[in-house]
Symmetry: C2
Subunit: 338 residues, 2 copies
């Protein structure tokens, strides 16, 4: 278990520890002869540099702290995949925590991450307060994903939720729908922007917004539809729904079908997030796609730019979502499937 150190390699190769260090970082100005000698010795001994010792000595870090509120949410898992790929490509390593959407747990998680003196920290949809973020910013670059903030000097990566729900409304309007309701995500991340986009798009078309308070879960989606069914006389029911996210949409569809309404023949439904769920042919949900892997990549890039000192001004990425049309939306009044 006691792994060889640079000293051992130096001894075996008959050179100084400093030379081994140069070879390991493949610095120039090392003679080929010595280089291969060192490399061989390292290989024979099974030597690999000690990342922490390196980090300490060089006063630099290859570690990126990642706090994700909840990995069970496929959206975050996808973003983390993007982070991992980008970090790996840039020679960085991820140290990961979950915050469980609890401010106190998130604070503890963040503190843990910072104890590693990471090169930077990425917070995925954190719920913690601005002061905690400011604290972190004082220590290292911070990138917020799926969360906006007025905190100075943090970079943010968000999808343009307003544009996203506008896409959804435009799509439905172009299919002839006019009574389009929105199942609002409440305080969930991004819900406000989505609601705003929906409202503006409706107004632009001189349509009356119908907002049903809901949450980003399937059970909340069902409940919202039940309310809608209760409130509206049979004829006045919306013909289309813009759900807060995919889970919400799936719940809404269940409730509609249970009530004897067919999707999309009677009611069209659009989701949000394009989770793997939406892509299942069994569900085949028309939805708004956030470029998640791209978001992960941008977050890492933003961090690295800061680390390298290439940029000091904050950057706010607003990514353009796109609409993925599947089988839960159809022309108003027509009986189309597929």
């Amino acid at each position: 278990m006691a792994r060889p150190t640079m000293e051992d390699v130096a001894a075996k190769a008959g050179v100084s520890r400093a030379l081994v260090s140069l070879v390991m970082r493949n610095a120039p100005n090392v003679s080929d002869e010595r280089r291969t000698r060192v490399l061989c010795a390292a290989h024979d001994l099974g030597y690999e540099p000690h990342a922490m010792a390196r980090s300490l000595a060089s006063r630099t870090s290859t570690v990126l702290g990642v706090m994700v509120s909840d990995l069970r949410n496929a959206f975050f898992a996808d973003v983390v995949e993007g982070l991992d790929a980008a970090a790996e490509a840039a020679g960085f390593h991820l140290i990961l925590n979950t915050g469980g959407r609890s401010p106190s747990r998130e604070r503890a998680a963040l503190k843990n991450l910072l104890s590693f003196r990471p090169a930077g920290v990425i917070l995925l949809s954190p719920v913690l307060q601005a002061p905690a973020i400011e604290d972190a910013v004082a220590q290292c670059p911070v990138v917020l994903v799926s969360r906006t903030s007025r905190v100075r000097d943090v970079d943010t990566v968000n999808d343009d939720g307003e544009a996203g729900s506008t896409l959804a409304v435009e799509h439905l309007v172009s299919l002839g729908h006019r009574r389009i309701a929105h199942l609002d995500g409440g305080v969930a991340a991004g819900a406000a922007a989505r609601r705003r986009g929906y409202q503006r798009a409706m107004r632009r078309h001189l349509l009356h917004p119908i907002i049903v308070h809901s949450e980003h879960t399937d059970t909340a989606g069902e409940k919202a539809v039940h309310e809608l069914l209760g409130d509206h006389p049979r004829g006045g029911l919306p013909t289309a729904l813009v759900a807060g996210n995919d889970f919400n949409a799936v719940g809404a569809i269940s409730a509609l079908e249970e009530a004897g309404l067919r999707v999309p023949e009677d009611v069209s439904v659009v989701g949000y997030d394009n989770t793997s769920l939406a892509a299942l042919r069994h569900i085949s949900l028309t939805t708004v796609d956030q470029p998640r892997t791209e978001m992960g990549r941008l977050a890492v890039e933003a961090l690295i730019e800061r680390v390298r000192g290439e940029r000091t001004e904050p950057v706010r990425h607003l990514l353009h979502p796109s609409l993925v049309v599947r089988s839960t939306t159809a022309t108003l009044g027509e009986r189309v499937r597929e």
Copy 2:
């Protein structure tokens, strides 16, 4: 950005660096007066210990390396949540990588993890070869999750796939089914055990096993059903399916419904994994539940036992899955819903 060190705290509190170190590790035999003096100084300066320096000096590690083949798979994401919770509780930290189910990428990922001299390494369903695992074992304790191996001295945490599919078969048999087919997961992790359990259970009931080669994806599930429909004359079609996993099951259900067969009235379907997907009321899949969070916990525990030297013999956890009955299975011949 330059954070205070122990030296700074010592200077401010007017004590030695060693005393600060003792306080930070809250060692006994420190006078209350000095302790509070140090704590105040640390607080004023915003001092937090440097985890890497600590690790280097103490020749111990609080880092657990985690290599997950694919985070997009909700099953792994759940296990990672379990790992995180257990690690956090024990004062450990996760450094995470993805291997993307490619042996070479996994090797690189593992090497990266080991460069941090972690206290231990957890591999989630790795595809890499035994020699690579042996290499890792030579460096630190290793736990394999969702993967068995003959490698000496590795701990493993698996669900008892054989028991799982037995549960599925028993359930279906008790509902009166006799023509029960298995959609086999091929080389996917755990597929062999599930197939074995299915076969044995069928034989025990003197039933003829029908195995359709498939994969753990929804499209593969659809394809498998198409094959089944092609092979079997209308009357001889299986009345129940034991799918390789939930995705596979959902695909199968789609294909069945497209072919005009109703689930569960005409065909019952059981999934495997109890992913969040299965719980959606829209899908409401009867499925086999692996205690994922528990698996994560056990993996971390196994590692910590080794770290503490409490155990040197390998341990092989085989967790008991359980059946979650929802709406995709029904008594043969009856027309039940819900």
